[in-house]
């Protein structure tokens, strides 16, 4: 049987607002198998981003358990979480979040520098990934000289260059027009399959959910 990459059980998360606790997530159970392309839908404030932040180890949780690739993520300190993110998790953000002083090539190369990968291997891996997203000709451009679609392709390349087990994508098509959004979705699906990566995507976009293996809906912090 295909073991889940994400295995959440009874996850709860509260935020403090003044003197009161506001529940963001309540008793979330979620299992996402390797290579799956899973969308989480829900209105604003439903807890999608909080769920993705927990799965991406950007944020902690108050109750429940989280196993990533079979490994318990409870009680890890920030350094341990950072090192797991570095090796095993890629991120695609709604606003691309590319580093403006880095070229396309350097943005994609940065996660490999963090991994301490040798120069030759880095160069080969970056070139291969840029070719897969069709940006090899724009490798030396800075992000501010790219269109929105091109920027998101760079972000996808940056997320996948280290062949992560999990890619967290928060509204990856929200800022893109229809045609570009479709290209980006196809790209994510194609590269995900090629790298064996599991995608967990927060989205409102029906074009995106139409391409997902599974769509889960969150309402007021509760998984439907």
């Amino acid at each position: 049987m295909n073991a889940p990459v994400i295995d959440l059980r009874g996850i709860a998360k509260h935020y403090r607002m003044g003197d009161s606790d506001v529940p963001a997530l309540q008793g979330i159970d979620l299992a996402v198998t390797r290579g799956a392309f899973v969308a989480v839908k829900g209105p604003s404030g439903s807890g999608k981003s909080t769920l993705l932040n927990i799965c991406g180890l950007l944020d902690g949780f108050d109750a429940g358990s989280y196993r990533l690739d079979g490994e318990d993520m409870s009680g890890l300190d920030e350094t341990a979480r950072t090192l797991i993110r570095r090796r095993r998790i890629g991120f695609v953000f709604q606003s691309y979040n590319l580093v403006p002083v880095m070229t396309v090539r350097e943005n994609v190369e940065y996660p490999l520098i963090l991994l301490g990968m040798g120069e030759d291997q880095r160069i080969a891996r970056v070139a291969e990934t840029l070719a897969l997203v069709g940006l090899e000709q724009l490798a030396e451009r800075r992000p501010d000289h790219l269109s929105g679609g091109q920027r998101q392709r760079v972000a996808i390349a940056r997320a996948l260059v280290k062949s992560p087990a999990l890619v967290i994508a928060d509204e990856p098509t929200a800022n893109l027009d229809s045609a570009t959004a479709t290209q980006v979705i196809d790209l994510m699906r194609g590269l995900g399959a090629r790298h064996g990566a599991t995608f967990l995507i927060a989205t409102h976009d029906d074009r995106m959910t139409a391409h997902c293996d599974e769509v889960r809906t969150l309402t007021d912090g509760v998984m439907q």
Binding site: L58, N97, P111, L114
Partner: protein, 408 residues
Amino acid sequence: MKAQLELLRFAWRNVLRNRRRSLATVIIAALGAAAIMIAGGFALYTYDALREGAAREFGHFTVAHREFFQRDEETPLQYGLENYRKLSAALEKDQRVTRVLPRLNFSGLISNGDKSMVFLGMGADARAEGAARGVFLKLLEGSLFGGDEPGAPRVLLGSALAKSLNAHPGTPLTLLTTTVEGSMNAVDVEVSGIVSTGWPEIDKRLVYAPLPAVQKLLLTDKVSALAVYLEDTAMTPAALADWQARDSIHTFKPWWEQAFYYQSVRALYNRIFGLLGIIIAVLVFFSVANTLSMAVVERTREIGTLRALGALPGEIVAGFAREGGLIGVLGVVIGMALAGLTTALLLGLDVQMPPPPGRSEGYPLKVYADPTIYAVAASVIVVLCIVAAWFVSRKASRKTIVEALGHV
């Protein structure tokens, strides 16, 4: 290695991100570095000039009777040197020694017939003293005298004393003093020249007279002490140690133990320049901290992104430290050029400093380009910039990633 260069390149691009702000910070770092280098170079020059002046005045070390510096003499030359010629000959055999000058200190009254003044005199060979003291003994009128000249003894007067006695070269005067036996004795002398030591208080009382004439006047064949001059002031500690080990009968006192002015000026300048250095350091620190704290705020979201990608807080701080270091290095390079240029300009221009307290003559404003001072100033500025960068970025690097990513 290549990865480190890449990270350095990113830091450089971040420095260039807000050029005007970075330029202002680099200029402050450059001015700070230049100020420390110039002030340090000026202090070194001043210490050097004062050291040479003191060493030329007292000799690199003085040889005297064991009690000479310990006790007050009840009668003149009670603790004088008796067989000084033999000791002088032994000292002159040391290859480091360039000259040994016997000196006999005495005091009394000097009169032109109408007016009498108290003087502090020295029996010496004025030509040898002049040669030893160089620019630190300025002959204003007349000529110096030798050690043993025929005829009436000739004397040198301090400029203020000469003015008080209305004396000029050729003017006859009378010296009245106490002999070693406690009786009074007098000798007629003729003014050979007028000198200035640069110290008004000394020039009011100073009389140089030929040593044989003074010995005859005091009825003694002793001298107060021997002033020993070396090839180089830097040789003093070693030569002194050798002679102290060789001769336990006499006292050997180095110039720095007699040069109280040098010690106090040095202590004063150390405090002044130390305080100046601290002020400059604080200015540079806050300037760099201000620039980088603005950069940190502007790049909070970027910091969140890098943290999400797997950068540890220390790696984020290291990135900012690289930027601070680059600002510091750039500032130091420009500062060195500024300091070098100022040093060269001052070498070419004859800029005079006003006389220091207690002195009558100014001195040229020069600045040493000292490699140690440059290295220390450069290190201090670069380290300060790195520390300022660390200081402002460490908090942001520990902000929660979710909060950082949500920063607008």
